[in-house]
């Protein structure tokens, strides 16, 4: 029952209730990852601005399935006036893991006024793909991600600091246990686990979990 993409896109554009939008977006997103993606991208990006959380989740999944082809359009259409939409777009970029998103994620984590945007950016900075990058380039990328995450350890919102922990953990798991960057990541996690430095229990619990996982895999260089 392959319906042409135009029909699926039209169903999203014409949805007249939040349930209809959800279903139409899920249908469109479910068909991505093949021919027709190019047409779906703009439509899925527009859904991110509709303030419909269910539909936005589906649209983000669709954009992640589309992958690298969605990166440029996402970067080009970031909505500076709508932080809900921006948070979803940053989530999509984080999920696609393309290094072209690096600068945007750094800026979002350091400066965006929306905690939901900073939170998505922190997670994304921990999981950028190293594909195609060699030694020194790779090291530089990791260094920039780590520096951005370190700076955000003192963000005023607990949920951003929580996301920083998750970002630090996934970044550190790819670093050699003897490396300087790995030690820095662990130092940041240790401070986020200390009651005298971090007042939100769930952030401390998550940091402790991250440190435990890193210790368990101390002999494992990690790769992705």
């Amino acid at each position: 029952m392959m319906r042409p993409f135009q029909d699926l896109i039209a169903a999203v554009e014409q949805a007249d209730s939040s349930d209809a939008l959800l279903v139409a977006t899920e249908n469109l997103a479910g068909m991505t990852g093949g021919a027709g993606d190019a047409e779906a991208i703009d439509c899925l990006i527009r859904v991110l601005g509709f303030n419909n959380p269910g539909a936005s989740v589906a649209a983000v999944e669709g954009l992640i399935a589309i992958g690298t082809a969605a990166v440029q359009p996402l970067l080009a259409t970031l909505d500076e006036h709508n932080y809900g939409a921006r948070a979803w777009a940053v989530r999509a970029l984080a999920g696609i893991r393309d290094v072209r998103g690096l600068e945007l994620l750094e800026g979002a984590l350091g400066k965006d006024v929306g905690p939901s945007v900073r939170r998505a950016a922190a997670r994304g900075l921990g999981q950028l793909s190293h594909e195609g990058l060699q030694g020194e380039e790779r090291e530089r990328l990791n260094g920039r991600c780590l520096t951005a995450l370190e700076a955000a350890c003192r963000d005023g919102e607990w949920v951003v600091r929580y996301a920083v922990v998750v970002g630090l953990e996934s970044l550190a798991l790819t670093l050699s246990p003897e490396s300087d960057l790995r030690r820095r990541a662990q130092d940041s996690l240790s401070s986020l686990a200390k009651p005298c430095l971090e007042d939100t229990p769930v952030v401390r619990l998550r940091a402790e979990l991250a440190l435990r996982r890193l210790n368990e895999r101390a002999g494992d260089g990690g790769s992705r």
Partner: protein, 277 residues
């Protein structure tokens, strides 16, 4: 944590960056109400530990104001923000002034005072709260006038405060129970939350879970907050499935981690939170 307690450098999301001494100064003067309004909010948001903060907020709470339509300042706006800040600062010295505000004719001020007393776990407030709610659905729970969204008493805040304060006497439970049948789902949610906190009766938490599927987003959001406040861990899967913003689900799941116990275990809850970032 540094970010919320270092008043010299408020972080993003904290509004206009001012210093603690500037905030105290703005609250101390009484001519510019919007400056006072902002200062009161700021001191609460930044969890000020300055010795003058609580006395100045108490003074601001005692000073009632008429509505100033021209400047956009609402009825008792400063007093309301002062009450909210006093709830956050956690100093029991503020309780007598908050109890007095609970008797004010401004229902918005009574609402702010009730919430603050709940945050302060002020057992001394239980009798007044019960007395104001005792008239039940036909009294306290009836609309202020037929077209008003407001009720005669700020029931949601008062019910939640009774739950937070935690005096689990049968007389208190009996005052709250009728509100489980209120026609507004937000009031039912508040009553369920309070009763679960006081009695631990799982039926009350299950009532909150069923509100996660309510057609109105506003109700689903309130149920998420209430489940977070009670920390009912079996709500994990329903929370994940709820159609609402990830930000609210994260707050709810934080509550399950920090206030709940048993199954699902903490690691499963944290994994669910990771997925929502």
């Amino acid at each position: 944590m540094t970010g919320t307690t270092d008043p010299a450098s408020p972080r993003a999301g904290a509004g206009e960056p001012i210093s603690e001494s500037e905030a105290l100064q703005r609250l101390r003067q009484i001519d510019d109400h919007s400056d006072q309004y902002y200062a009161a909010w700021w001191l609460g948001r930044m969890r000020s530990r300055h010795p003058e903060a609580v006395p100045l907020l108490q003074a601001a709470l005692r000073r009632r104001q008429p509505r100033e339509a021209a400047s956009g300042v609402e009825h008792n706006a400063v007093a309301r923000n002062a009450a909210r800040a006093l709830g956050k600062l956690g100093d029991p010295q503020a309780i007598p002034d908050l109890l007095a505000a609970l008797e004010d004719e401004d229902d918005g001020l009574r609402e702010a005072a009730a919430r603050a007393l709940g945050e302060l776990r002020a057992e001394g407030a239980v009798a007044v709260l019960c007395q104001r709610l005792a008239s039940g659905l036909a009294g306290a729970g009836a609309p202020l006038d037929p077209r008003s969204p407001r009720l005669r008493e700020p029931c949601e805040a008062m019910l939640e405060a009774l739950g937070d304060i935690g005096v689990a006497e049968t007389t208190v439970l009996a005052v709250i129970e009728p509100f489980l049948d209120h026609d507004r789902p937000l009031i039912r949610s508040a009553a369920g939350r309070a009763l679960f906190l006081l009695s631990g009766d799982p039926r009350r938490a299950e009532g909150l879970v069923s509100l996660l599927e309510h057609p109105q987003l506003q109700v689903r959001r309130a149920a998420l907050m209430d489940l977070g406040a009670v920390g009912w861990r079996p709500a994990l899967e329903p929370i994940r499935r709820t159609l609402a913003e990830n930000s609210l689900k994260l707050i709810a799941l934080r509550g399950l981690v920090e206030k709940g116990q048993g199954e699902p275990d903490t690691e499963s809850l944290l994994a669910a939170m990771d997925e929502l970032l």
